[in-house]
């Protein structure tokens, strides 16, 4: 119950952050931090919830969040083959690849839906993602370790 309340609170805070910083995604980094902490069970049930929230609040047809999150997870596991996920270089590479992946997915979906968005807006959003990704990662890692840990009851 405590951990469920934590995730409800965390999700609400993320929504407020996303409202304050248009274009930023807090749920992608949160999911990767969960994978980094090897909390796979929580990652599995939280992913669809966060995808639905981003899709519902978004203005594109369903699919972008699935691609975005799926790509992030794939990049995370590929990078884990070469670098330790607690390494700074890992975080830096992940941030740059996240920005590039966001640019690619947005371009793809906008083309598919024949929507006209200024290119500089998409590029700026991707740069914003790259720059804020490490900050969100560090903030969430700290928060998850401090408040978001499930209590282990000793037998």
């Amino acid at each position: 119950m405590r951990i469920l309340s934590w995730w409800v609170f965390f999700t609400a805070v993320c929504i407020w952050v996303q409202n304050s910083l248009p274009g930023i995604d807090c749920f992608g980094p949160a999911l990767l931090v969960l994978l980094h902490l090897q909390r796979y069970k929580e990652a599995v049930w939280l992913t669809p919830v966060w995808i639905v929230i981003n899709e519902g609040a978004g203005t594109l047809a369903f699919g972008l969040s699935v691609l975005w999150i799926g790509g992030l997870v794939l990049v995370f596991f590929i990078l884990c083959q070469y670098l330790s996920s607690s390494n700074f270089a890992f975080l830096l590479t992940l941030s740059v690849l996240a920005g590039i992946w966001q640019l690619a997915t947005l371009r793809l979906m906008l083309t598919l839906q024949e929507l006209n968005i200024p290119a500089d807006q998409i590029v700026l959003q991707s740069i914003q993602t790259t720059l804020l990704f490490p900050l969100l990662w560090v903030a969430m890692l700290t928060a998850f370790k401090r408040w978001g840990q499930p209590r282990h009851v000793s037998p």
């Binding site: 999700t11 609400a12 929504i15 407020w16 996303q18 409202n19 248009p22 274009g23 930023i24 995604d25 992608g28 639905v52 929230i53 981003n54 899709e55 519902g56 609040a57 978004g58 203005t59 594109l60 047809a61 369903f62 699919g63 972008l64 969040s65 699935v66 975005w68 966001q102 947005l106 906008l110 598919l112 929507l115 006209n116 968005i117 200024p118 807006q121 998409i122 959003q125 993602t129």
Partner: protein, 263 residues
């Protein structure tokens, strides 16, 4: 999955009915608390009576502005159509107030939108016109039971048929992004369009009622290479400074009065 959803729209509906409701449910209480705290400060701490009086006057001004918009439109229509017989009567507009509770939320929100706290349960449908007493803000894009997103006129995907209030020349008003001027497309070279004139909705799209002010023409240039004039305009509403908007529900639009006229 994408193609299946494109054809059926099931996943879009699911996302709207859950995701948009969750987001609205999270943002609305915070905005309510913020507004109440602001109102408390303005009404009781910061100049008690003067502020209350000011609020009442502001409301009255807003109502009067709406009345002026309606009367101006009716007067112009009346003078032009007086010669015609049996033109259809002007439609009844119903205004419904809504609070802006959010802007673009998340990486999917690439269109210029705001979120309002009214949805299908309040009678809002897709493409419902949204305005303020100063002019048109946009139209609803996604609608969930209690919340909606509004596509702003500044978005490049927003196209609104407009008409010069003075010149009566038609054009299509297109956004070019936030903090950028609007563009009026398809204004013929030989048709008049004056700088500083107000553009109003023409009603030709069947979505917006006729005569709502949208933008003011800032610059008109004639191009040697194009058949059309290059017209730049500026929105009459600064969305960043708005907290409340009005949704128009119009049962009938007077878009084709001449067709009903008897010879």
């Amino acid at each position: 999955m994408y193609t299946w959803n494109w054809k059926t729209g099931h996943l879009d509906r699911l996302a709207r009915y859950t995701g948009l409701e969750i987001v609205g449910g999270v943002l609305a209480p915070g905005k309510w608390v913020h507004r109440r705290a602001h109102a408390l400060w303005d009404s009781y701490i910061h100049l008690h009576q003067a502020q209350e009086h000011n609020v009442a006057l502001q409301k009255e001004i807003q109502n009067l502005k709406l009345e002026v918009i309606r009367l101006r439109k009716e007067a112009q229509t009346a003078s032009r159509l007086r010669k015609l017989l049996h033109f259809s009567p002007p439609p009844e507009w119903e205004f419904q107030g809504a609070d802006i509770i959010g802007s673009r939320i998340g990486p999917n929100a690439v269109l210029q939108t705001v979120t309002i706290n009214k949805g299908s349960r309040d009678g809002i449908r897709q493409n419902t016109p949204i305005l303020t007493p100063d002019g048109v803000v946009g139209r609803t894009n996604q609608v969930s039971p209690h919340f909606s997103t509004v596509l702003l006129i500044t978005d490049p995907n927003s196209n609104i048929p407009v008409r010069g209030q003075r010149s009566r020349t038609n054009g299509i008003l297109r956004g070019q992004g936030l903090r950028r001027q609007l563009q009026v497309k398809h204004v013929p070279q030989n048709s008049p369009m004056y700088e500083d004139e107000v553009l109003v909705t023409s009603g030709l799209d069947g979505l917006f009622p006729k005569g709502l002010p949208v933008a003011r023409v800032e610059k008109v240039t004639i191009s040697d290479l194009s058949l059309f004039k290059d017209v730049q305009a500026r929105s009459l509403v600064d969305v960043k400074q708005q907290e409340e908007v009005l949704a128009i529900q119009c049962t009938k639009i007077d878009s084709a009065p001449v067709q009903n006229a008897k010879p």
